[in-house]
C-alpha cells in the first residue's frame, strides 16, 4: 500500500467545489511537486492530507491510517506527517530551540535533555546552529522558514507536506530554503510540495501533478511532464509562469 493515498476525494467550501474526484498515490521516498494556478485546489489538497480540512466525499489514507473517518486520531497521525506553511507560522513567543522542542515535550513526552539533543541536531541540519536562542522576530524570512522545517523534521515524520514555502520569501532567500529541501530529498524523505519553483520541481521532483479546476489534470514524470506537457492547459500554465 502507498504511503499517501487519495481516492475519489471531493471537497467543497459551501457551494464551491474546490476538489473534485482527486486520485493520487505517493510511494515512500517519492518527491511529488504539485503545481497549478492559484485557486486550483493544490493547497487545499495538501491540507486535507493531514486533516486540517475535512473532505465531503472520498478516502484519504496516510501510512495505513484513514484520515477521512470521524474517529480518526488526527493528533496521532500529524506526528507522522510534517507540514510547513507559506508564512512560516513559528511560535513568536518561543526561542528557536523551544519552537522545535515544544511538540516533542508536549505531544511525545520526550525528556527535556533528549528533546534538546534532537532540536540541536535538526537545527544544525538546516544550518542555524548559531541561532538556537534567537526569537523568530530576530530572524530573516529564509531563516524562519528553515526553523519551521526543523520544527517539523524533529518529530521524525514519514512524509512532509510543503505549502508554497518559498512564495513569501525575498528572491535572494529562496535558495537557502531550497537547498535544505534538496538535502532532505537526498536523505530519502517522502515529500509533497506545492510550489511555483519549476526548475526545482524538475530537478528534485520525481513526479509532477498539475491541478486544474480542482482535478488532477495531468501527472507524470517530473522532467518529461514539464518539458513536454500533453494538455493545452498545462502548456499555457507553464508558458505563463516561465515568463
Amino acid at each position: 500500500m502507498s504511503l499517501v493515498e487519495l481516492d475519489g476525494v471531493h471537497k467543497r467550501f459551501g457551494n464551491l467545489e474546490v476538489l473534485s474526484d482527486v486520485n493520487l498515490s505517493v510511494e515512500e521516498g517519492e518527491i511529488v511537486a504539485i503545481i497549478g494556478r492559484s485557486g486550483s485546489g493544490k493547497s487545499t489538497m495538501l491540507r486535507c492530507i493531514n486533516g486540517l480540512e475535512p473532505v465531503q466525499q472520498g478516502r484519504i489514507t496516510v501510512d495505513g491510517t484513514e484520515v477521512t473517518t470521524a474517529k480518526a486520531d488526527l493528533n496521532d497521525l500529524r506526528q507522522r506527517v510534517g507540514m510547513v506553511f507559506q508564512s512560516y507560522n513559528l511560535f513568536p513567543h518561543l526561542s528557536v530551540e523551544r519552537n522545535v522542542t515544544l511538540a516533542l515535550k508536549v505531544v511525545r513526552k520526550t525528556p527535556l535533555a533528549e528533546a534538546r539533543d534532537i532540536a540541536r541536531e535538526t537545527i544544525a541540519k538546516v544550518g542555524l546552529a548559531d541561532k538556537l536562542n534567537a526569537y523568530p522576530d530576530e530572524l530573516s524570512g529564509g531563516q524562519q522558514q528553515r526553523v519551521a522545517i526543523a520544527r517539523s523534521l524533529a518529530m521524525g515524520p514519514k512524509v512532509m507536506l510543503f505549502d508554497e514555502i518559498t512564495s513569501a520569501l525575498d528572491p535572494e532567500l529562496v535558495g537557502e530554503v531550497l537547498r535544505v529541501l534538496e538535502a532532505l530529498a537526498a536523505d530519502g524523505m517522502t515529500m509533497l510540495l506545492v510550489t511555483h519553483e519549476m526548475k526545482f520541481a524538475k530537478t528534485v521532483g520525481n513526479r509532477v501533478v498539475f491541478m486544474h479546476h480542482g482535478r488532477v489534470h495531468e501527472a507524470g514524470d517530473a522532467r518529461e511532464t514539464l518539458e513536454q506537457p500533453r494538455t493545452p492547459e498545462l502548456t499555457s500554465f507553464l508558458n505563463a509562469v516561465l515568463h
Binding site: 486540517l52 493528533n75 506526528q79 511560535f91 513567543h93 518561543l94 511525545r108 526569537y135
Partner: protein
C-alpha cells in the same frame, strides 16, 4: 466632639486601604480563575458551551454591582445563611471581575492568528495543548493593557462595598469625615491613595509588556 484631621487619620486611611487592595486581589484571583474557564468556554468549537458563557457574561454585565452586593449580603439571610460583609463583597466582585475579564480575554485569545492554531495542530498538539502552550501565552501580552485597565476600575469600584458596611478606603473616609468635618482634607487624601494604587498598576503593566516576545 469634632477634632482636627491629622497624621493619625492618614494612617487610619492607609490601613483601610489594605482592605481595598485585599478585596481587589481576592476578586482578581478568584474572578480571574473563573474568567479563564468562561473565556475558553466562549471560544471552544462547541455551541452549547459558547451559549452558556455568553449567558453568564450578559447576566453579570447587565446587572448593577450595587444590586449584586445587596443580594449577597441581605438576600441570603432569607435562607438563613448569615453572610458577612467581607464574604459578600468578595463574592460580588469576583463574579463581576470574572464576567468582564472573560470578555476581555476572549478578545485576546481570538486575536491570536488562526495560523498559530493550524501550525500547532499540524505538529500533533491536541486542542488543550494548543491553547495552553501556543495561544494563551501569546494572548497574555495582548491582554495585559486591557486587563490592567479593568483592574484599575476594579480598585475604584470596590468602594461600593462601603454600602454594606465593609470598611475599606472609602468607608474609612466617610467615617473620618463624620468625625472631623474636614471633607476636603479627608477626601483628597482618599483620592490620593486611590491614585497611587492605580498609577503603580499602570506602570507595572508597561514594564511587563515590554518583556514578552510576540509577533509584530
Amino acid at each position: 466632639m469634632i477634632r482636627e484631621f491629622g497624621f493619625d487619620d492618614v494612617l487610619f486611611l492607609l490601613l483601610a486601604a489594605r482592605w481595598t487592595i485585599l478585596l481587589t486581589l481576592a476578586a482578581m484571583a478568584i474572578g480571574g480563575a473563573v474568567a479563564l474557564v468562561v473565556a475558553i468556554l466562549r471560544i471552544v468549537p462547541f455551541r452549547p458551551a459558547n451559549w452558556l458563557a455568553i449567558g453568564y457574561i450578559n447576566l453579570v454585565q447587565g446587572t448593577p454591582i450595587l444590586g449584586q452586593l445587596f443580594i449577597f449580603f441581605f438576600g441570603f439571610s432569607v435562607f438563613g445563611w448569615n453572610v458577612g460583609a467581607w464574604t459578600a463583597a468578595v463574592t460580588t466582585f469576583s463574579i463581576y471581575a470574572s464576567a468582564y475579564l472573560a470578555e476581555i480575554w476572549r478578545g485576546g485569545l481570538q486575536s491570536v492568528p488562526k495560523t498559530q492554531w493550524e501550525s500547532s495542530a499540524a505538529l500533533g498538539l491536541n486542542y488543550l495543548q494548543r491553547l495552553r502552550y501556543v495561544i494563551i501565552p501569546q494572548a497574555v501580552r495582548i491582554n495585559i493593557p486591557p486587563t490592567v485597565g479593568f483592574l484599575v476600575q476594579l480598585v475604584k469600584n470596590t468602594s461600593l462595598a462601603s454600602v454594606i458596611g465593609f470598611v475599606e478606603l472609602s468607608r474609612a473616609g466617610q467615617m473620618l469625615n463624620n468625625a472631623t468635618f474636614a471633607p476636603m482634607a479627608v477626601y483628597l487624601t482618599v483620592a490620593a491613595i486611590y491614585f497611587v494604587i492605580c498609577f503603580s498598576l499602570s506602570r507595572a503593566s508597561q514594564r511587563l509588556e515590554g518583556r514578552i516576545h510576540v509577533a509584530r
